[in-house]
């Protein structure tokens, strides 16, 4: 018997639970030397904005213990380019496409969502990257505010109608379940947990920050326990809300940890930089685990951490 890897995110059915995370696999083109995109549970493409963003100056990245810091500034060619060039290309390769959208105002998010509704036929879902500075709130991140999170999700969901919407939450908050609740109340079909963790590194010789953007987002194995805790807490509070677990997943065991904490699907992120085929190895490793443990469906494992006994 080979394991049945299909999983569901609400109404959405995926052929397997392993996606690639936004910003770690572009829109798929560069990865085709290594991965058959149709074999992925889905590709969450690099975030797109209303107009092209050129991104931040360099250096944009530095390595840190078991991880990396980045401050890239969502360099992208804009939603129109995605609709005209990337989406048809992805659909031709039978990829399951999660469009990731970003903006600096609620209105920008809504306009991108509008364009996807009219021009984005074929996308499976939309991930909402609310770890962006909100120009209308002194550049505080949307994801750090109950009100701003609710406003973006409400607007995006109204624009997209039946396309499932997954806000991607930031772990840098006092009460993640409050933010999650706001997103769900605003109409989120599920949640992506987690985005990168705020960090900073300083070159002691020059006494300057190692990133041109001063602070950045920490990713990689270093943040996995933070993600597992976040998934666990949100799943306990909202057991019926589908979660996409991400944050430091490099191996099948890492992915299973997030699934046992409550994720119905996972996204491999920083590991794609090191091993472009990491997502494929995670998928086959999950299948092997399921066979070894006599598990018949991914659903049996979701939230299956044993807390007592």
């Amino acid at each position: 018997m080979s394991a049945n890897l299909t999983t569901t995110l609400g109404a959405l059915e995926l052929s397997n639970p392993v996606l690639v995370a936004s910003g770690t696999f572009g829109a798929g083109r560069e990865g085709t030397a290594f991965v058959d995109l149709s074999k992925l549970g889905g590709i969450i493409v690099k975030s797109m904005t209303l107009v092209p963003w050129k991104g931040k100056p360099t250096p944009r990245m530095c390595e840190t213990p078991s991880g990396m810091l980045n401050a890239i500034g969502i360099q992208n060619k804009g939603v129109d380019h995605f609709i005209a060039e990337d989406l048809p290309w992805l659909l031709k390769r039978r990829a399951t496409v999660f469009a990731s959208i970003a903006g600096n105002t609620v209105d920008e998010f809504v306009k991108v969502a509008d364009k996807l509704r009219t021009g984005g036929r074929g996308i499976a879902a939309v991930e909402v990257n609310i770890s962006c500075p909100n120009l209308e709130d002194r550049n505080n991140m949307f994801a750090h505010s109950v009100e701003a999170t609710g406003a973006v999700v409400r607007g995006v969901k109204a624009a997209l109608k039946r396309v499932p919407v997954f806000p991607k939450l930031s772990p840098n908050v006092t009460s993640l379940t409050d933010i999650a609740g706001a997103a769900i109340d605003a109409g989120a079909d599920g949640l992506s947990l987690i985005n990168t963790v705020f960090g900073m590194a300083i070159d002691v010789e020059t006494r300057r920050p190692k990133l041109a953007g001063t602070t950045g987002g920490l990713s990689g194995p270093a943040i996995r326990p933070i993600a597992v805790r976040a998934i666990h807490d949100v799943h306990r509070e909202f057991p019926h809300v589908p979660l996409i677990g991400q944050g430091g997943i490099s191996t099948a065991a890492d992915a299973l940890e997030s699934i046992l904490a409550g994720a119905s699907a996972v996204a491999v992120g920083t590991a794609n930089f090191i091993d472009p085929r990491a997502s494929m190895e995670v998928t086959s490793g999950i299948a092997a685990y399921m066979e070894r443990h006599g598990v018949e469906s991914v659903g049996e494992l979701v939230g299956g951490v044993k807390l007592e006994g």
Partner: protein
């Protein structure tokens, strides 16, 4: 572009500072071009996770060492430290060939190659290929001191005119490569310049090349996470054609060193932010290839 496992054939040193690994990697060794690079996983210790990019010093396509490639590096942190300990038969996990290499002249030309410190690495591979195609090769190697000049004796064998400069005067002329660049261009009838080294050197070389109206291709060495075009961390600011009424500081694009580079047209790179004056007359997008090195590592 493939993920491959290569076997170390030899480890040796060039001078005190530089380590060399010759790696048996047939698929990569046979297809890689000068300026392209390989991205190598450095050990099983996952406290430093990213691969390290290395430009290729030499490839051997024939004879007993056929299908091997040689990388040269100095020790900058735990990744290169790990590689420096590898000996014969060790297995390395590498991805390559990556990036766009140097564009070779289409007709026979006088080429001037400039390497700064460890940045001389891809210059040797390029010199081999240019000579094979019948071009004239002249070279300027520069470094802080004699011990940091990469294999100057071998370079003298490859080049028609071979100059060296050191900051402290311990070998060749005292000074930096650009002190002798303008007169070398005149003397050698240089028609194209290729350079690899630190940014200030590449900026100065590019400026002089533009003044002398000589095309210049530079290989940059940038921090990068992925090496194959998805992470957007290794970008270089490049001037693009200005739209009508657009302020010059807006006419900037960030090009990925790993896929659009690491070889760029030096006249198009913005070396010192958006005010850099080297921007006139840009025509074609930059040609590109590779020549990268290890990340400045955390802690050491």
């Amino acid at each position: 572009m493939i993920v491959s496992h290569g076997e170390v054939l030899t480890h040796k040193k060039y001078g005190e500072a530089y380590h060399s690994l010759t790696i048996v990697a047939p698929e990569i060794g046979e297809s890689i071009k000068p300026g392209q690079f390989v991205n190598i996983k450095c050990g099983k210790d996952r406290s430093y996770i990213l691969r390290r990019p290395f430009s290729v010093y030499r490839v051997h396509k024939r004879g007993g060492w056929a299908s091997t490639l040689e990388i040269v590096f100095d020790i900058r942190g735990p990744g290169s430290e790990y590689l420096s300990q590898l000996r014969s038969h060790a297995i390395v996990d590498l991805i390559g060939p990556l990036g766009r290499g140097f564009q070779l002249p289409k007709r026979r030309a006088h080429c001037l190659l400039i390497g700064g410190g460890i940045g001389a690495t891809p210059i040797f591979f390029l010199a081999d290929e240019l000579r094979n195609e019948g071009h004239r090769v002249d070279v300027i190697l520069g470094a802080r001191n004699a011990g940091l000049l990469l294999n100057p004796i071998e370079m003298r064998r490859l080049a028609s005119v071979s100059l060296t400069t050191t900051d402290d005067g311990s070998a060749g002329d005292k000074g930096i490569v650009t002190d002798v660049l303008a007169e070398t261009i005149e003397r050698c009838g240089t028609e194209i310049i290729y350079a690899c080294g630190p940014h200030p050197m590449l900026a100065a070389v590019s400026r002089i090349a533009v003044e002398k109206k000589v095309p210049v291709q530079v290989a940059v060495e940038e921090l990068m996470a992925c090496g194959y075009g998805v992470c957007m961390t290794c970008v270089m600011p490049m001037r693009r054609k200005r739209k009508r009424d657009e302020p010059p500081e807006d006419a900037v694009v960030y090009a990925r060193s790993c896929t659009e580079g690491p070889v760029f047209n030096g006249a198009h790179v913005i070396w010192n932010g958006a005010t850099d004056p080297v921007d006139e007359e840009r025509s074609e997008p930059a040609p590109a290839a590779a020549g990268a090195r290890e990340h400045a590592p955390p802690g050491n």
